[in-house]
């Protein structure tokens, strides 16, 4: 068996936690409990988990506007996340950030980012710090097929190659940037070929396949940790929901989402594989399903009961360290 039972159970639990968290987010949003713009990542769980499962709290990730899954995969507290998304003072960012700016520096989660392409230059910085300080830590940025077209991302890729930074660029290619197709907005025939053009190893893998994604990222992360510079991994995947919660998704063919949920579900694919290989029993995963349901329910109940920020003390604090 190429993977330990503990590893497989942990991967499954984290993917399932993301799925439940996101689906619950949609419900809570629709119930009026989640303010603002919220982008969920259900359908893309395998990539987040494969990318983060071997990382320590000292390894840094930079996320996107679709960041809940990355947070959970990096070990952020689900209860603190739910509170943050609901704007409560005991949330991960005291309710000041919200879904699009959720972060937990203690966990090496440098933040979701509401500016498309905002993350990779910062992740270069984390990688530069690791390299300069000789910590052997790595940094990993999540990108989309859409953010791939942002100049900041091009600059970050080139600089990462030039400075040989320990930065793994992960591209979650879900085929869409809002309502624009990747095959329209990415001018190159292949994002991976374009990534390779920057002078770094680049690979395109099936992001629905946890194991393929994990193996590719493992090599990339080791390369970074060994001082051999950046890698770009493009993971093909499917977005199960709208661009944002409430998106009517008119630009998608009618049954695309329905079919994807049925036939392109990375968690189902994981389950089928580990059962077929005899690596895990269905019962063990079913038990995790139940525990995850309870965990998410608890997170929601606690978040709904959590205190709201107090403008008198919280509005003006945290702008500066000292002023």
């Amino acid at each position: 068996m190429p993977y330990s039972t503990e590893f497989l159970l942990s991967a499954y639990r984290t993917m399932k936690t993301i799925r439940e968290f996101e689906e619950r987010c949609v419900k809570e949003f629709e119930g009026g409990n989640v303010p603002g713009f919220t982008h969920v990542s259900n359908g893309q769980e395998a990539i987040a988990v494969a990318a983060c499962i071997d990382l320590s709290d000292k390894d840094i990730i930079g996320s996107t506007h679709r960041g809940h899954g990355h947070c959970i995969a990096k070990g952020c507290d689900v209860g603190g996340m739910m509170k943050e998304i609901m704007g409560r003072s005991t949330g991960l960012c005291k309710g000041k950030g919200g879904s699009m700016h959720i972060a937990d520096i203690d966990k090496g989660m440098l933040g979701a980012n509401a500016i498309v392409g905002g993350g990779p230059p910062l992740v270069n910085g984390a990688a530069l710090a690791a390299k300069t300080l000789g910590t052997k830590n790595v940094a990993l940025s999540f990108n989309g097929d859409g953010s791939a077209n942002q100049g900041t991302v091009f600059e970050a890729m080139n600089m990462a190659v030039v400075l040989k930074l320990p930065h793994v660029f992960v591209y979650e290619n879900n085929g869409y940037a809002e309502g624009t197709a990747a095959n329209y907005a990415v001018g190159s025939n292949s994002l991976t070929e374009r990534n390779a053009g920057f002078g770094m190893p680049a690979e395109c893998i099936d992001g629905l396949d946890f194991f393929a994604t994990y193996e590719a990222l493992k090599i990339a992360t080791e390369r970074a940790r060994n001082g051999d510079g950046p890698t770009a991994i493009e993971a093909m995947c499917v977005r199960f929901d709208g661009h944002f919660i409430g998106d009517p998704q008119l630009y998608r063919p009618k049954d695309e989402v329905k079919n994807a949920r049925k036939n392109q579900d990375c968690i189902k694919i994981f389950r089928e594989r580990v059962i077929a290989e005899g690596w895990l029993k269905a019962a063990a995963m079913n038990a995790i399903d139940k525990e995850v349901m309870v965990e998410i329910e608890t997170a929601v109940v606690n978040a709904l009961a959590a205190p709201h920020p107090d403008p008198a003390t919280d509005l003006m604090s945290d702008v500066y360290c000292s002023y």
Binding site: I115, Q249, H308, P311
Partner: protein, 353 residues
């Protein structure tokens, strides 16, 4: 210079239109009239390369809906997410025979494209000795109230107002939105057109025919002689609320909506303060180096002897925009905060009202 009526009479039929519809009308009619007008930006149509519906968004706030089906993808261009290239393309095209209307979606994304705006588009004409013109419009949505958090809620009008070479337009009703957009498109200089995201559905009667509102002419949604309130964009709503409450107490407010903050109708403000002697400015921007302090400075310098009381400003605090509803509500200026300031100004000075 000064136009004392909010809705100068335009003949012909009018219809009840939202700000969203009014801007859409202006764009459509100008595109029909002038084939060099193009629209470009992310999701201005939506659905590019997709198998589902075309024109799926028509802009994320629906402002450009229907333009692509009428004018085609050649003139309503969905772009990759590349703001520097979007603004650069608009500026370059404007120098070469087109009149582009570029959309930044959320004006916060100016950050990614700022060089193309302030070092390039804004300065061409001056640097080139008056030999070039850059007839472009940059549209973007501004402001808080949507719980959109720090990176999607900024009021950055003061930053662009600071830059010579840019014109900055901030409509507060559908009538002005249409006329100002028409002027913005016909104008030969780069124009920043800022739409407040909580105002898109606010409607008023709008003439069906096309008309241009000249820049630098304030509007007076309420007229009075006791205190001057200068308000821009969504803050005009609060100023009107306060003026109407005070009117019942026999206090008359002169509410000035500059409509364009660059150029700014100095005369309108100074003339008003000459009569009232009291000035409150309400602005959703941050307080430092902002529009409110700019206007206060102009009046302190040029209208000092008219003043009977210290000038007051009502602005957002010196913080980013918070996410949590309680914090964002506390952050935003509103009618209550304005009322407090107006009453203070009325009570202050040698002959407190």
């Amino acid at each position: 210079m000064t136009n004392h009526s909010n809705n100068p009479a335009i003949g012909g039929k009018t219809s009840l239109k939202t700000i969203r519809e009014a801007i859409n009308d202006a764009l459509r009619e100008e595109m029909r009239r002038d084939p060099t007008v193009i629209v470009l930006g992310e999701e201005v149509s939506g659905g590019a390369g997709c198998e589902g519906e075309d024109d799926a968004y028509g802009g994320v706030f629906g402002v450009t809906k229907g333009l692509m089906p009428e004018f085609g993808r050649e003139r309503v261009i969905d772009t990759p997410i590349s703001e520097a290239a979007i603004i650069g393309a608009a500026a370059g095209a404007a120098n070469n025979g087109l009149r582009p209307v570029a959309e930044l979606m959320f004006f916060d994304f100016i950050g990614v494209s700022f060089d193309q705006i302030f070092n390039q588009a804004a300065k061409f004409r001056y640097m080139f000795g008056g030999k070039s013109k850059t007839p472009m419009v940059i549209r973007g949505t501004v402001g808080g109230g949507w719980r959109a958090g720090a990176q999607h809620s900024s009021m950055l009008h003061s930053i662009v107002t600071h830059i010579a070479g840019l014109k900055v337009v901030m409509p507060a009703n559908a009538y002005d939105a249409k006329g100002l957009m028409v002027q913005a498109i016909r104008d030969d200089d780069p124009v920043i057109f800022l739409e407040h995201k909580v105002m898109y559905d606010i409607a008023c009667e709008v003439p069906d025919e096309q008309y241009a509102i000249p820049f630098g002419e304030a509007a007076f949604p309420r007229q009075g002689s006791d205190v001057t309130i200068v308000a821009i964009s969504n803050m005009v709503t609060h100023a009107i609320t306060v003026a109407d409450i005070l009117a019942k107490e026999g206090i008359s407010c002169d509410v000035i909506d500059p409509r364009t903050v660059s150029p700014l109708d100095h005369e309108a403000i100074l003339e008003s303060v000459e009569v009232t002697g009291r000035l409150v400015i309400i602005d959703e921007g941050n307080p430092r180096c902002g529009l409110a302090t700019d206007i206060a400075g102009i009046v302190a310098e040029h209208g000092f002897y008219s003043l009977k009381a210290p000038i007051r400003t009502v602005t957002a605090p010196h913080t980013p925009v918070p996410f949590a509803p309680e914090l964002e509500d506390a952050y935003l200026p509103n009618a209550e905060k304005l009322m407090v300031a107006v009453r203070e100004v009325l009570a202050a000075g040698p002959s407190g009202a």
